[in-house]
């Protein structure tokens, strides 16, 4: 069946490098002696620890709970003893530390009670489903890590008609979703049915990039087997960033999500295929999100492969299981080469967001120096948001940040297409991040100044009121005294 597809603006074609991590079969990563679990592996408020140092925990046990609506709990990814609660280095572009719970594993990998009792999701009410998803700490596994339970709670004003499952995986090197779709296609479809029920979407489209024919075939087979005509498989052209949420929605539904808006505004909920499987595991087996598939790949590892890694596993342990480093001075990137973040070292833990550990050889020579912008407009032609990067660059480098904001710098999704096509080798994305940071700082300052101005005015008013009241008090006895004095 051929279905209609649409196009998103811009985009570029990139070499895939996908085959290198697909030659070895998917395997479980070995349990490391220590796990470091960040309390904030999602968008929203950090989870709060409910365990103490020295306490023993079992696999799947809640160790930090979500108190806010937009938050997600954290569970022990194996059994062992809590040996530390405090700040650890985490995978973050800033390289800063963040609160984490450290567990010394006991090697027994014992499950907590209550897990693994299979339930039929159809027997559960939508509220039960939602609370299970919420309690399982499920977040978007495509990289944005937004708490899924929130996304799966539609509001009546915005009815959802289409569920889009994202199996595009457009970044070079990464194959974790590809492997997931090949090995658990039936679960993707079953997960899709659960999600469809939750959001009330009549149809579901699974978007898969054309460079993954095996995954698409596996899913098509699963759809046939499930005799479900509500789930469709859409093979989308291999154009980066087709896996961006708004880009994929455009490609498979023709709808454009409003700027700064949500997919729900056009009747769509979009989730990663891995999230769908995690949801299924949560509702059927009551299993929290404690592991994920991580692609360990790149020219810098000996045997690139995909590993099912417990959350909190140090990157170094995964690299060791991928044959170790193949280069002397590796550069580690978490995520893909276009939008990933550089890791300060291999001691950092895998989080719910870690889809890939890319190991490259650190550049031996300085990068080609940037030349002046010749305004060729290649960047604008490549931009999936239809921004004018040449204008944004001009304003960012001359510190005209208000102009950059006017030219919609905050709409930039930092996909890196502009920088990739730039003939002058200008690090455009770095400039745009810089402009965004400066604008955010200025906004904070403005906010602060506004608050202190209000405080000052309120104090002024209070002082005036008090003075007036004092004057009143002084006057009143005077008035009562005056007649007496006169008389």
């Amino acid at each position: 069946m051929k279905r209609r597809l649409w196009k998103f603006p811009g985009g570029i074609r990139l070499p895939g490098f996908k085959a290198m991590s697909l030659s070895l079969p998917l395997a479980h990563a070995e349990l490391p002696p220590r796990l470091v679990l960040p309390l904030r592996q999602h968008i929203g408020a950090p989870a709060e620890p409910v365990v103490e140092v020295g306490q023993t925990v079992r696999k799947g046990e809640l160790i930090a709970q979500a108190r806010e609506y937009i938050s997600a709990p954290v569970h022990a990814s194996s059994s062992g003893r809590v040996v530390g609660i405090g700040d650890y280095a985490v995978p973050h572009p800033s390289g800063l530390t963040a609160p984490c719970i450290e567990i010394e594993t006991d090697g027994e990998d014992r499950w907590t009670d209550g897990a693994d009792t299979a339930r039929d999701p159809d027997a559960l009410s939508v509220d039960e489903l939602r609370s299970r998803i919420r309690a399982a700490g499920i977040v978007g596994l495509g990289g944005a890590v937004f708490p899924s339970a929130v996304k799966l709670t539609p509001v009546p004003e915005r009815p959802i008609d289409t569920l889009v499952l994202n199996g595009v995986e457009c970044e070079p090197y990464i194959t974790c979703d590809d492997v997931l779709m090949r090995t658990r296609a039936a679960d993707v479809v079953r997960g899709a049915r659960v999600l469809q029920r939750l959001v009330g979407a009549g149809r579901c489209v699974v978007g898969i990039e054309a460079n993954k024919p095996e995954a698409a075939a596996a899913l098509r087979q699963a759809v046939t087997d499930a005799k479900s005509d509500a789930v469709e498989v859409a093979v989308v052209p291999t154009v980066f960033p087709a896996g961006g949420e708004k880009q994929l929605i455009r490609v498979v539904t023709g709808r454009e999500v409003p700027r700064h808006g949500l997919p729900a505004q056009v009747g769509v909920v979009c989730l990663n295929v891995a999230t769908a499987v995690a949801v299924l595991d949560a509702v059927v087996h009551n299993r929290p999100l404690i592991e994920r598939i991580v692609t360990v790949t790149g020219p810098g590892v000996r045997c690139p492969r995909n590993l099912i890694a417990p959350i909190g596993t140090p990157v170094a342990a995964l690299i060791a299981q991928a044959g170790g480093y193949a280069v002397e001075t590796p550069r580690l990137i978490m995520g893909g080469p276009m939008m990933g973040i550089e890791l300060a070292g291999d001691g950092l833990p895998v989080t719910k967001a870690s889809n890939c550990v890319l190991v490259e050889a650190a550049p031996v020579q300085a990068p080609r120096p940037a030349l002046p912008c010749i305004r060729c407009g290649s960047c604008a032609a490549a931009c999936p948001v239809r921004l004018l990067p040449q204008q944004l660059y001009w304003y960012a480098q001359s510190a005209q940040f208000d102009k950059a904001q006017d030219y919609a710098v905050f709409d930039c999704i930092e996909c890196g297409c502009c920088a990739h096509v730039c003939p002058s080798n200008i690090p455009l994305v770095s400039y745009f991040r810089f402009a965004k940071t400066e604008l955010a700082a200025a906004e904070r300052d403005r906010h602060k100044a506004e608050r202190s101005r209000q405080r000052h005015e309120e104090r002024q008013q209070r002082l005036e009121r008090e003075q007036a009241a004092r004057a009143q008090r002084r006057k009143r006895p005077a008035r009562t005294a005056a007649p007496a004095g006169e008389s």
């Binding site: 990139l14 454009e256 999500v257 990068p367 010749i374 890196g416």
Partner: protein, 344 residues
């Protein structure tokens, strides 16, 4: 900030030098045709302008304390030199090419801040300087049908360019004639019909003898650049379409007074201008709709100047006029953002 902070980590695909190199490749066939019809003077102009461009560029980079190797390697100065060299009349005195190119590089490019910062197309600034200052030398075009011209060898042409007269002692005007655009302008001014004027030797099948083939070769090179995605189609298509539309409208109105569209497209610097000069990214508009407007503006001004202005060709002036308008055009033609509803 010259090094990237954070993603993307993948090596960028393009290079300025590759862009410039392909522009030069695209000019090779047309240059060969040009030499075939107009003699060795074409090559001498190219050599003079290229050498001057590179020397002037190096000098200015040194004065401005810029990394010499890095900026010379971008090839932009060479492109300016080659374009100006192609635009000058072959057999013109040597100092014309040298002066024009030096002015283009020193004043129009580096005094404004060098590569990427010049508001005007440097080659056209150099060309217009020469056109205004030395109108006589700039209108001395070799006659492509003169047997004398084709008898000149490379060294003879060299002699003419540096000594100012032909080896036999005759002036360069002995092998020169009015250009087709000039002939039509003058002829129509005298009340002759375009058809009658075009019976002359310098007129070929659609445009000028020889120059029409140069223009067709340039068109081939230009299409190759489009195919290679070195230039976008917007500017050349808008420019040539506007020129053709205006020429067509007036030709329909009065065929005796106004030449037909094919003549306008294949004479003078129309094709060179459309694909190689107006598309200079630094001085052009950059938004898709802006490029259409920009190209259309150059096409319109070119027609107006050719038909009613004081110069036979108008590409250079039209390009400079639209260079002035480019920033404004860009500001008013911002594309609709992805996800932007309505207009903002």
């Amino acid at each position: 900030m010259t090094a990237a902070v954070g993603s993307p980590f993948i090596t960028p695909a393009g290079r300025v030098s590759a862009v410039m190199r392909q522009v030069l490749y695209a000019l090779v066939p047309a240059t060969a045709v040009y030499v075939y019809w107009f003699g060795w003077g074409v090559l001498i102009n190219l050599m003079l302008a290229s050498v001057t461009a590179v020397v002037a560029e190096a000098l200015m980079l040194w004065v401005r304390r810029r990394p010499l190797g890095l900026f010379l390697a971008d090839g932009s100065a060479l492109v300016t030199g080659v374009l100006l060299g192609l635009a000058l009349p072959p057999l013109a005195p040597w100092w014309l090419a040298v002066l024009g190119t030096a002015f283009a590089i020193v004043a129009a490019k580096h005094l404004y801040g060098g590569l990427g910062f010049n508001p005007f197309n440097p080659a056209m600034v150099g060309f217009v300087l020469l056109l205004i200052s030395f109108p006589k030398d700039m209108s001395m075009w070799p006659d492509p049908v003169s047997p004398q011209l084709h008898a000149l060898g490379f060294l003879d042409a060299w002699h003419a360019v540096f000594a100012g007269y032909l080896p036999g002692g005759a002036g360069v005007d002995a092998v020169s004639s009015a250009t087709p655009l000039d002939a039509v302008r003058t002829g129509v001014g005298l009340g002759h019909a375009v058809d009658a004027i075009r019976k002359g030797d310098v007129f070929g099948l659609f445009g000028g003898t020889g120059s029409e083939w140069v223009n067709l070769a340039l068109l081939g090179g230009g299409l190759w650049l489009l195919w290679r995605r070195i230039v976008s189609w917007h500017i050349p298509v808008a420019l040539l379409a506007t020129l053709a539309l205006l020429a067509g409208a007036f030709h329909l109105l009065s065929p005796e007074r106004y030449a037909d569209p094919a003549f306008h497209l294949l004479t003078g610097a129309s094709v060179l201008g459309a694909f190689f000069i107006a598309t200079d990214p630094v001085s052009a508009a950059t938004t898709p709709r802006g490029r259409l407007l920009y190209g259309a503006g150059i096409g319109a001004f070119t027609y107006i100047i050719r038909t009613w202005g004081g110069y036979p060709d108008g590409i250079a002036f039209a390009v400079l006029l639209m260079n002035l308008a480019a920033p404004t055009i860009d500001a008013y033609t911002r594309p609709r953002l992805f996800g932007q509803v309505g207009s903002s």
